[in-house]
């Protein structure tokens, strides 16, 4: 119990309260704030402001250095295509991070689902809708397995998903026989699985259905988080699980639902992945894990839970895409791309810590 009267235990409880009362007159004193504190407060109230500013700066800086090759409609649409997977998996990751968890298995779930969809449709010859549904069900099952371990056995999400990452990845290698299904075979046997790769030409930019699918997913999850009770409960559970439970929220159900939803979103990510690369490879999407966490953290979500937004994650994914593309076009070695992304994470987490220290 939080009790303020620890040091006063010597007194009679009766006196304690009386003595407390006198000191409680000036409750709301206003103190002047320095510009830095004002910035801190502003960022505290507008958590997506930082990533939005960083993204704008990134675009300006790279446009200045690289020139039209960077800000051409063609290159910008390429960036959008590249961030599709990161963003979709990032959406799943955001849900988990909002509940003060972390999911290291998202990449493995995605690849496993893509392999199941592809193998069932092409090698086994099941109808494509059945194979697709089986892929979604696999995602849900993986999420449910993670969720069960976290909710029922009360294991830390980090450890659970570190374990299931290896488990799901091994299952993926076993089921696929470490074989890649070639793009032309997918196109012949199950073109629906590549549907999200269908290009659309728009004002000189070449987008794919996958980009719109990603934006649609972001919109839906934004709606759930901000306009439904479930969304409010997800924030509350991440913010203070005890308070949420005392307020009458079924925290176990909320947490479990979040893990299952994340699994299903990873399966949708699998669909987008097949659309993006055409083939189905058990080795694809290896970087999705860390990239998704990067997008979420750069997007302003707090790993301590209860803070963050889906729009932030979209912007975070774009920042990753912009810095990768900008550095590549500037002729910088690939290794410095990793360096830049790593630095971004550290800066983002530092900033989050600083903002959280805001004095109320």
């Amino acid at each position: 119990m939080t009790d303020t009267s620890g040091e006063k235990r010597g007194m009679q409880a009766f006196e304690t309260v009386l003595s407390q009362q006198d000191t409680r007159v000036a409750e709301f004193e206003v103190h002047a704030r320095s510009p830095l504190q004002m910035l801190q407060h502003f960022l505290h109230g507008n958590p997506t402001a930082v990533p939005a500013i960083v993204l704008a700066l990134g675009v300006i800086v790279f446009s200045a250095i690289v020139g039209p090759r960077f800000y051409s409609a063609f290159n910008l649409s390429l960036i959008l295509q590249q961030v599709t997977i990161i963003c979709i998996i990032g959406v799943a990751q955001t849900l988990i991070v909002l509940t003060a968890g972390i999911d290291l298995s998202v990449g493995a779930v995605m690849v496993l689902c893509s392999v199941i969809m592809g193998k069932l449709a092409i090698a086994v010859g099941l109808p494509v809708p059945v194979a697709f549904a089986a892929g979604l069900a696999t995602g849900a099952a993986c999420g449910a397995f993670n969720g069960l371990l976290v909710v029922r056995l009360k294991l830390p999400p980090f450890i659970v998903t570190l374990g299931t990452w290896s488990i799901f990845f091994s299952l993926n290698l076993w089921y696929s026989g470490a074989q890649t299904i070639r793009a032309q075979d997918v196109a012949k046997g199950a073109p629906f699985l590549q549907w999200l790769g269908t290009p659309v030409d728009l004002l000189g930019a070449r987008l794919t259905y996958g980009t719109f699918f990603m934006l649609g997913l972001v919109a839906i999850v934004w709606y759930v988080l901000n306009r439904t009770a479930l969304g409010r409960h997800i924030y509350a559970v991440g913010d203070d699980p005890d308070a949420a439970r005392l307020a009458g929220i079924r925290t176990d159900k909320v947490l479990f639902a979040v893990y299952v939803a994340a699994g299903v979103i990873c399966a949708l990510g699998a669909w987008a992945l097949i659309g993006r690369i055409g083939s189905i490879s058990p080795q694809a999407g290896q970087t999705a894990n860390l990239d998704s966490i990067t997008a979420v953290v750069i997007g302003g979500a707090s790993l301590f839970g209860g803070r963050g937004s889906i729009v932030g994650t979209l912007i975070g994914a774009l920042i990753v895409g912009v810095s990768r593309s900008g550095l590549a076009l500037s002729g910088v070695d690939v290794l410095w791309q990793e360096f830049a992304v790593g630095s971004l994470i550290i800066v983002a987490v530092t900033l989050d810590q600083w903002i959280r220290k805001v004095s109320a």
């Binding site: 119990m1 939080t2 009790d3 303020t4 009267s5 235990r9 009679q12 409880a13 009766f14 304690t16 309260v17 009386l18 407390q20 009362q21 409680r24 007159v25 409750e27 709301f28 306009r227 439904t228 009770a229 479930l230 409010r232 409960h233 924030y235 509350a236 913010d239 203070d240 005890d242 308070a243 949420a244 439970r245 005392l246 307020a247 009458g248 929220i249 079924r250 209860g306 803070r307 109320a360």
Partner: protein, 271 residues
């Protein structure tokens, strides 16, 4: 209304059934026994104060009644029926609302979100039933009304996160939530501990209001003047169990303090 109307059965001979009746509650935390065969009775429409030293087990007692804690032993009857509250949700469904000592607010959520946490209002029609859309306008309006009624509208905006409020303001939010939704019983665990003099007054008036609506109130407080001013009966808790119940009219503040600190035995004063 005289306080005599709310006295125990013994006084007027008429058998009144307690609204909440607990017998032999036990709760152990490792080697600490927070509740040690504790009994409890709350009668309809009364204000029952629960007093006791720090660590006497008052919070544990009311947490057992509100479903926040499942006792190891003992039974609880609500309206004469045996109940097993497994979670605060069960108690809420029975009409019992609680202001916990920890307040149970989600700091990152807005005032309005916190007031309606766990029982959000949805838009009428398809938007609400199919798309589950929250009626944010209505919740914000009701939240504003509720806080104004409480005299707590010193907050700048109903949409500001609770973590930007002072301790007293937060306490006000928690009290507003419980009194707005409690239909049978409102339990308050030290609701005025962080409040200023004026705000404490408002909360006391609010408690009297709640009783006027026919809702029973359990008030835990260390503030003897408050307790003696508004309580119909005083439950004195000591070392994890009910020591005795006294009537404020039949005993002085120093008597009560002597009882709860163990300086005096209860026989001489029992109501």
């Amino acid at each position: 209304m005289s306080t005599a109307a709310f006295s125990t059965t013994a006084d007027n001979g008429a058998v009144r059934q307690p609204l909440i009746e607990a017998r032999g509650l036990v709760k152990r935390y490792g080697r600490v026994t927070a509740l040690d065969q504790a009994d409890f009775d709350l009668y309809p429409g009364e204000i029952l104060a629960v007093i006791g030293d720090n660590g006497a087990g008052k919070s544990s007692l009311i947490r057992a009644l509100s479903g926040a804690l499942v006792p190891d032993e003992g039974e609880i009857r609500f309206d004469g029926q045996k109940v097993h509250f497994r979670s605060p949700l069960d108690a809420q469904a029975a009409g019992i609302e609680t202001v916990y000592q920890s307040l149970a607010l989600a700091p990152g959520l807005s005032i309005a979100d916190n007031l309606f946490l766990g029982r959000e209002l949805r838009k009428p029609g398809m938007l609400g039933s199919v798309f589950r859309m929250l009626d944010r306008k209505k919740m914000q309006r009701m939240a504003r009304e509720k806080l104004t009624e409480l005299g707590l509208m010193t907050v700048q905006s109903i949409n500001q996160p609770v973590e930007t409020l002072s301790g007293g303001q937060r306490q006000g939010i928690a009290v507003a939530r419980a009194t707005a939704f409690g239909s049978r019983v409102v339990i308050l665990d030290e609701p005025t501990a962080a409040l200023g003099v004026k705000e404490s007054r408002r909360v006391l008036e609010l408690i009297l209001d709640v009783r006027r609506r026919g809702i029973a109130v359990v008030l835990i407080s260390h503030n003897m003047p408050h307790v003696f001013e508004i309580a119909d009966r005083i439950h004195i808790h000591r070392l994890g169990r009910r020591l005795t119940v006294v009537k404020p009219s039949a005993c002085t503040m120093s008597d009560a303090v002597a009882l709860m600190t163990g300086a005096r035995a209860p026989q001489e004063l029992a109501a």
